[in-house]
């Protein structure tokens, strides 16, 4: 099943896309696995994922962490630390 990857703010600008639909290879288990795999898709992706410590991730709109399993999430979002309010 395809999953939707969303990018926001600075990450969206670096990747050059606000969203993309991808089919995950079977060896992608955690958020970190996915980030490593996405980083190989283009120079923009590589730039966006160069320092995962500066990224945040949400699985199906719930905040998560890079060491967490994807656990069947269908909407995975990457973005910088938030700055609202």
């Amino acid at each position: 099943m395809p999953v939707t990857i969303l990018y926001f703010a600075h990450v969206r600008e670096l990747v050059g896309l606000s969203s993309e639909s991808v089919h995950l290879p079977p060896d992608i288990h955690t958020v970190a696995d996915l980030a490593d795999w996405l980083a190989k898709r283009s120079d923009g992706h590589a730039a966006a994922f160069v320092d995962p410590s500066r990224l945040r991730v949400a699985l199906d709109q719930i905040m998560s962490c890079f060491d967490q399993p994807l656990d069947g999430a269908l909407e995975i979002a990457f973005f910088p630390p938030v700055t609202g309010g």
Partner: protein
């Protein structure tokens, strides 16, 4: 009343406070955040994550209602382009007593800043740059986690 709104348009704090007062309880606390013109900033652009942002704010309102005895909570956050001096955010709480109203209001704005997916891009002399998250905001938010 528990209401969360994300909107492009401005809001009227007086009108929103009157809606809280209509609940006829003893105390109303409100917070209004404005765009600051620090370091030559002349405009902000607010981006959010439609769906997750609303969900996060609803969850914070639910948490505030569970922790404090509040009868009404209203949270408004604007998105899109905003000039210096414009209103960005409004938090309002109503309770029988001031301590609950004030604490719930402070909790909501502190946690909103670190938990809700919004991002600010500022324009300084025609150059745009993304605003970096602040450690002082993390500290303000974390004080509500330990108690």
């Amino acid at each position: 009343m528990r209401e969360v709104r994300i909107q492009f348009d401005d809001f009227d704090p007086g009108r929103e406070q009157a809606r809280l007062e209509a609940h006829g309880i003893g105390a109303i606390a409100t917070f209004t955040g404005l765009v600051r013109g620090d370091d030559g900033v002349d405009q902000l652009h607010l981006e959010h994550y439609p769906g997750m942002t609303e969900r996060t704010l609803e969850a914070l309102c639910a948490e505030a209602s569970a922790r404090w005895s509040i009868d009404a909570v209203l949270l408004i956050h604007r998105v899109g382009p905003l000039a210096v001096g414009e209103r960005i955010v409004f938090v309002g709480t109503a309770s029988a007593h001031r301590a609950s109203a004030l604490e719930a209001c402070a909790f909501l704005i502190d946690r909103l800043k670190t938990d809700a997916p919004f991002w600010k891009k500022e324009r300084v002399s025609g150059q745009e740059r993304w605003v970096e998250a602040k450690e002082s905001d993390d500290a303000a938010s974390n004080r509500w986690r330990s108690s």
